[in-house]
């Protein structure tokens, strides 16, 4: 996890798994999660192992999370917005309406 060097000039509120967190305007979701102390964002698809953002530049796909209900978003390429609902993921994608 990360710490910020300066207080965000423009704080943005969002949630991770329902927990209210604060980001800075312009943060990517991945950076905002790390700066808010989140260690793990998902469990891997094949082995169910804990994963967290690794490259922060859109290459590794380890930062995949569900953002406002859309699964498998690259959080390092998505800007955080006020009121955004971010959720961790467990393995494979779930199909809406699946039995």
């Amino acid at each position: 996890m990360f710490r910020r060097l300066h207080e965000p000039a423009e704080p943005v509120r969002f949630t991770f798994d329902g927990r209210p967190l604060t980001a800075a305007a312009g943060d990517t979701v991945a950076a905002a999660l790390l700066a808010a102390g989140v260690r793990e964002v998902r469990r891997s698809v094949v082995g169910g192992e804990p994963r967290a953002p690794y490259c922060l530049m859109g290459v590794c796909f380890d930062c995949l999370v569900t953002i406002d209900g859309v699964q498998n978003r690259q959080s390092c390429l998505t800007e955080v917005r006020e009121g955004m609902e971010v959720r961790s993921q467990q393995g494979r994608r779930r199909l809406e309406g699946a039995e």
């Binding site: 790390l34 260690r39 793990e40 994963r51 967290a52």
Partner: protein
């Protein structure tokens, strides 16, 4: 001010695919130094004739990774990033002032070469098509020329435990610093080799972070190989800066050299790093160091996915030990209408990329007949000189920091190589022993490279492992063949693309003359 620039000042960046034009004279992919300067050069030269330039970039603001967030970051007097970072600001400003259209947050998932839609590549009279997803919708945009400036990514450094939370690339920490003004909390261990590792250490120290140690994995065997290139390096722009930075870091952080193996361990997250170190007397000592955050780095390699999927010929660069698109002196790839500029065509660094972007832009315009040959020649002459200056010293760095074999092709069989499909080095080596013809058959057998990252984090390692097992050069092994989409694309976005009758017919089996059909005859 041109009409295009005026309209952009009103409209601002393009945020939805529907707002893109059907065609641009030049489409640039990537807003790092190469892409920004290519867009500035091309749009400036086309402004008088009303030509159009579009820059597509995945990030929310210009700068690429090297100048990440440079237009957004508050510039404080005590800023930790250093002058080289802020050198990106004039470039971003020049782009902002240029008439080029700009679409941030755009994912380019494919480039189809000329004539790809009509029976094969290489016809030449049709423009390449750029497949892009922007604002939740996909489009295919025609381009007179495409300049790929997709930059570099960090060379994968597969060590045991590199998938644990708390382990990141050094580049990731740098991006967090640039874009979110954040540094890892707690004890940081940097491991790997190359100039960026020390630059990051310097920046983190200035930011007040706690670096417990640097574990330097540089291959001592490379020092001799690099010596030949030393005189060239001593005349290079890198030397003074580099040596001073190294000295500052070494004064404040314990640096352990001769690291022969690394393993990161912890319960669900990185907690400590085990390492083996070769001493001056040749003795090997094992040790462990506690860490809250481990940052790995062993150099950068070109991001080649778009070029490869477009059918550009990919070649092995033996000195940089990486695959790159084959380009001519001005950046033309093997595919008509597609150029590659900057680190995506071979690592040269940011200032080099900025010059290469301008060169590629000139070449693209000349190929399109939008720039007089004499003007092009004149402009290229001085740019080539500038480029040569930035190439000086590169060979020394490339050789000195060529990663050691143990970190290119992991020895520990349990080490994960493909992070998406969780395929280990041991499984790969055993399967290579079946006699497979190459990485693509390996991919088929083991699914390595088939996950969402599409091999970005394993392709290099798979080639290295196979080359080592076979005792041949990586150039004889090759790498994954790629096809668009090179980035995940929502099925509904793909489905919403316009479809010509012959595409419908290829699926339904109905003759094209009947147009879109509801009744596929040959679906089975």
């Amino acid at each position: 001010m041109t009409a295009a620039a005026a309209s952009r000042d009103i409209a601002g960046p393009i945020t939805h695919a529907a707002d893109l034009a059907d065609r641009y004279d030049v489409v640039v992919v990537g807003a790092g130094p190469a892409g920004l300067s290519a867009a500035v050069e091309a749009s400036g030269r086309l402004a008088a004739s009303g030509g159009s330039v579009l820059l597509l970039d995945e990030n929310p603001s210009p700068g690429g990774q090297i100048y990440r967030a440079v237009t957004r970051r508050p510039r404080r007097p005590d800023d930790c990033l250093g002058a080289d970072y802020w050198a990106g600001l004039p470039l971003a400003d020049a782009f902002a002032a240029s008439p080029a259209a700009y679409a941030p947050g755009a994912t380019v998932w494919g480039v189809e070469p000329c004539g790809a839609g009509e029976g094969g590549a290489g016809k030449g009279h049709e423009p390449p098509l750029v497949g892009v997803s922007l604002g939740g919708a996909a489009r295919r945009i025609a381009a007179g020329a495409v300049i790929l400036a997709s930059g570099a990514m960090e060379r994968p450094m597969p060590v045991p435990g590199w998938t644990l939370p708390g382990v990141m690339t050094a580049g990731a920490a740098q991006i967090a610093l640039k874009s979110a003004d954040a540094v890892p909390a707690g004890r940081i261990v940097l491991a790997g080799c190359g100039p960026l590792l020390y630059l990051l250490a310097w920046q983190l120290l200035r930011a007040g972070a706690e670096i417990a140690a640097i574990l330097d994995t540089a291959d001592p065997g490379q020092r001799l190989a690099a010596l030949r290139a030393l005189p060239d390096f001593l005349r290079s722009p890198y030397v003074a800066k580099g040596l001073s930075l190294l000295a500052q870091v070494r004064r404040r952080v314990p640096v352990h050299g001769g690291i022969e193996s690394l393993a990161i361990e912890g319960d669900g997250r990185a907690e400590h790093v085990l390492y083996r170190q070769r001493g001056r007397a040749g003795n090997i000592a094992a040790a462990s160091i506690d860490a809250d955050c481990v940052l790995l780095h062993q150099g950068v390699i070109p991001s080649t996915h778009l070029a490869a999927a477009a059918g550009c010929r990919i070649e092995w660069n033996a000195v940089q030990r990486a695959f790159q698109p084959a380009t001519d002196d001005v950046g033309r790839s093997s595919v008509a209408g597609i150029l590659v500029a900057g680190d995506g065509a071979g690592i040269g660094g940011a200032p080099h990329a900025a010059v290469a972007g301008r060169i590629a832009a000139l070449a693209a315009l000349a190929d399109l007949g939008r720039l007089a040959d004499a003007d092009c020649r004149r402009a290229l002459e001085s740019l080539r000189r500038e480029r040569a200056r930035w190439r000086r010293g590169r060979a020394f760095l490339d050789r000195l920091y060529q990663p050691a074999a143990a970190f290119r092709a992991p020895r520990d069989p349990a080490t994960i190589v493909c992070r998406c499909e969780e395929v280990t080095a041991g499984t790969l080596r055993k399967t290579v022993a079946l006699g497979v013809p190459g990485p693509n058959q390996l991919k088929t057998f083991l699914r390595c490279g088939m996950g969402p990252c599409q091999g970005r984090l394993c392709a290099q390692t798979v080639t290295e492992i196979m080359a080592e097992e076979r005792g041949v050069d990586p150039s004889a092994i090759g790498t994954y063949r790629l096809r668009s989409p090179v980035k995940p694309l929502r099925l509904s976005e793909l489905a919403a693309l316009p479809v010509p009758p012959d595409a419908v017919s290829a699926v339904t089996g109905e003759p094209p003359a009947k147009g879109p059909s509801e009744s596929p005859a040959d679906a089975r």
